[in-house]
């Protein structure tokens, strides 16, 4: 029985992470990782000093365990929210499950296999959020060896608890509510719904931020031992038990608290398996791909009008992105996340921090801040970095149909460019709202538009040289493709360094800054554009097929 579970899990993971017949892209990851090392060192250093300051401040009032509870609570919340999206796409929306249903396997075995990939993501996230904190806190508090052992055990068991809770809730909903009969529409609905949910939580938190009441409450809880920890973790007891096990690692109390977490973990896993056995397949089999009706003569003749090759190719690209839930979520909806979030912060900001920023900051610095904001937003152009990979099996058509290479390339670049422009317009609208002076606004827009083209080309070329065409389910295209994230991070790091240099340089006036930034962007764009025009040939596309 266990062997079957393991085989299914292994096969499902292999399907997600193996790119059949492709060369290894390891060197890109190594290169990007090396480039990001200094960036992470600076970040880690900053976090370390923040934790140290918070620890010493709280230790004076005997409330340092608050930090442990807070981190575990944040970790649980982040995992819970992300798990909702991951569980829906992995458990219900990925088409490969239909291949496993006819096999003589228990629903819980399929469920465990399906859970493996989201869990890997959760552990990666925990490794990033929790492990550095554990070591920093341990060294500041001169923690005993048991602290680290308990910490490691928590690292192993803790992320599984919120994941199991999220999975059980969703399995129950999908079994009985049957959200929608059309699979594609429900995918889009759930995707946008989860985004709105995150924004809604943010709004609620901000609206309930009554500073005076908060101070009163804090004062009360600070009177008692571990009071703040209890206050923070009251909504999620495993965080309290986990934090207490670490805080009392030197005594028997710590051990007892750890046993409590292990107990909760065991119950969660047991319930997860039982719920999976009862509900999972019933929910999966309730869904169908759906189908549209037949076309009227009028609609038919409207759809069959002749268009220019490039125009028809652009329409095809846009239609496929908008109609494929995974592409729509990854390429379009997620790009809106950052500007919408920024807009909400702005409108709920009672301290008027952002609006006063325009008056208190120098023109040069304001431009640099805006420039970095646009880099963060535009560098992760997923539409460009999956332009070739999205074609999957259809990539062959680019080769045997008489479409000029330039038409294919520029149609794909145009679509990727245009999709990132829409959320950028929201950012510009925010800029106008907070009264950014016109000369700064215009300069920023010009530089950002040039950068967007540069970033679109870079992302496109990376995908052209290292595409992932052999996917059977669109989700596979994004799973395990950390290059998309690293590409964005590398651009942010490089232009971040450039921004820091200009920020610290002895240039005080605005226009020389515009000139420097604009020139650098134009030069880089010309170089990349030149490379794209000269080096990308039909054989580049043909060699993708060769693998």
């Amino acid at each position: 029985m266990m062997r079957n579970t393991w085989t299914v899990t292994w096969t499902m993971l292999k399907m997600q992470y193996t790119s059949a017949g492709k060369h290894s892209n390891a060197w890109i990851y190594i290169f990007l990782a090396v480039m990001l090392v200094p960036f992470f060192m600076i970040l880690l250093n900053g976090i370390s000093s923040i934790i140290a300051a918070a620890y010493h401040f709280l230790a004076e009032v005997n409330q340092e365990s608050l930090l442990l509870g807070f981190v575990l609570l944040v970790l649980a919340a982040v995992i819970f929210i992300l798990s909702i999206v991951m569980i829906l796409s992995a458990f219900y929306f990925s088409d490969d499950i239909t291949a496993y249903i006819p096999l003589p396997l228990h629903p819980y075995q399929l469920l465990i296999g399906k859970a493996a990939n989201p869990l890997i993501y959760n552990y990666l996230l925990s490794a990033l959020l929790f492990l550095p904190f554990l070591f920093i806190y341990g060294s500041i508090s001169n923690a005993p060896l048991l602290f680290y052992i308990y910490g490691f055990i928590l690292f192993i068991i803790f992320p599984a608890i919120p994941f199991a809770v999220a999975a059980m809730i969703l399995m129950f909903i999908m079994r009985y509510v049957n959200i929608a009969k059309n699979k594609d529409r429900s995918k889009i609905f759930m995707g946008i719904g989860s985004l709105l949910f995150i924004i809604f939580i943010n709004v609620i938190v901000r609206l309930n931020m009554d500073e005076a009441a908060l101070v009163d409450m804090l004062t009360t809880y600070m009177q008692e031992q571990e009071g703040l920890l209890r206050m923070v973790t009251v909504i999620y007891p495993p965080a309290y038990f986990g934090a207490s096990s670490l805080h009392f690692a030197g005594s028997w109390f710590g051990f007892l608290f750890l046993i409590s977490v292990i107990g909760i973990f065991a119950i969660s896993v047991f319930l997860f398996v039982v719920a999976g056995q009862r509900f999972y397949l019933k929910g999966v089999r309730g869904m169908s791909s759906g189908s549209m009706g037949t076309l009227s003569d009028k609609a038919s003749s409207k759809l069959t009008k002749q268009r220019a090759i490039r125009k028809t190719y652009i329409r095809k690209e846009i239609k496929i992105i908008l109609r494929t839930p995974v592409f729509l979520m990854q390429c379009v909806v997620q790009t809106f996340f950052f500007p919408i979030f920024l807009t909400i912060i702005l409108f709920l900001d009672t301290s008027e921090g952002l609006s006063t920023l325009t008056q208190t900051t120098s023109d040069k610095k304001l431009l640099l801040i805006l420039f970095m904001l646009s880099i963060v937003m535009l560098s992760g152009n997923v539409t460009a970095s999956t332009a070739i990979s999205r074609d999957g099996a259809s990539q062959k058509l680019n080769l045997f149909l008489p479409i000029p290479l330039k038409s294919i390339i520029y149609a794909k670049l145009f679509v990727a460019y245009a999709i990132t422009i829409i959320p950028f317009i929201i950012m510009v609208a925010v800029g106008v709202y907070i009264h950014i002076p016109w000369h700064i606004l215009v300069s920023w827009i010009c530089i950002a538009l040039v950068y967007n083209w540069l970033s679109t080309m870079i992302n496109f070329m990376i995908d052209l040289y290292h595409p992932k065409l052999h996917w059977t389910d669109e989700q596979e295209l994004f799973k395990g493709r950390y290059i998309l994230f690293l590409l964005s991070l590398a651009q942010t790091a490089i232009f971040g360094i450039l921004t820091i240099i200009i920020w610290k340089a002895n240039i005080t006036s605005f226009y020389p800054t515009v000139l420097i930034l604009g020139s650098i962007m134009l030069i880089l764009t010309c170089i990349v554009q030149g490379y794209l025009s000269k080096k990308i040939k039909l054989t580049t596309l043909q060699n993708i097929e060769t693998g």
């Binding site: 038919s300 002749q306 496929i320 008489p402 060769t546 693998g547």
Partner: protein
Amino acid sequence: MIEITHISKTFDGNHKIIEDLTLTIPDGKIVGFLGPNGAGKSTTINMMTGILPIDKGTITLNGIDIEKEPLKAKQIFGFVPDRSDIFLRLKGLEYLNFIADIYQVPTDIRQEKIKYYSEQFSIDHALGNYIQSYSHGMRQKIMVTAVLLHNPSIWILDEPLTGLDPKSSYTLKQMMRDHADQGNTVFFSSHGLEVVEQLCDEVAIINHGELLFYGTIEQLQKEYQTDQSLENVFLELTNDA
């Protein structure tokens, strides 16, 4: 006419797939392309259609070199690939219109042809549906219909009859015959030896990237001094018996 002259193809530097293959497919004939799995059929077809670059040798279609003038060469053939799971998120009609746009087929002609062929293949009722919802046979039909829209003189078909129902299979075979009889070229790969025997004027048999035989079925039987079926000769020739 398709002229394949001394072509070779190697994958991963040393794995030879096609070795010095020369083959001329004349006008006015249906030529079947046979070979066991992994013999090099798809690689040859992929080179003929510009999907793969040619390492050595040349391929011309009606005298136009696919490597030197790819766009011009691609205008004169229609190709049905072995995989029909493409553009699944487009509706059948949208896919046909996309292909018609690429070949710049005028609106009135495309409308007329879409109507005619979709009725012939009984897919007219499903053109408003997403290709994703089609069965394998329906997907194959939409691919074949798309190829016929721009009236190419050369048809290159990779396993075109797989998944088709008897009526559509008969219709397509009839169309292939008519097309060849009008002096055009029809080249198709197949594993269905009975179909090849019944439909083709000539056959090309390939194994391990080398051409083993090219000619009529009568010539094949004569060469191997047998009156056995194509299946038996094929198995003997490719050492799969």
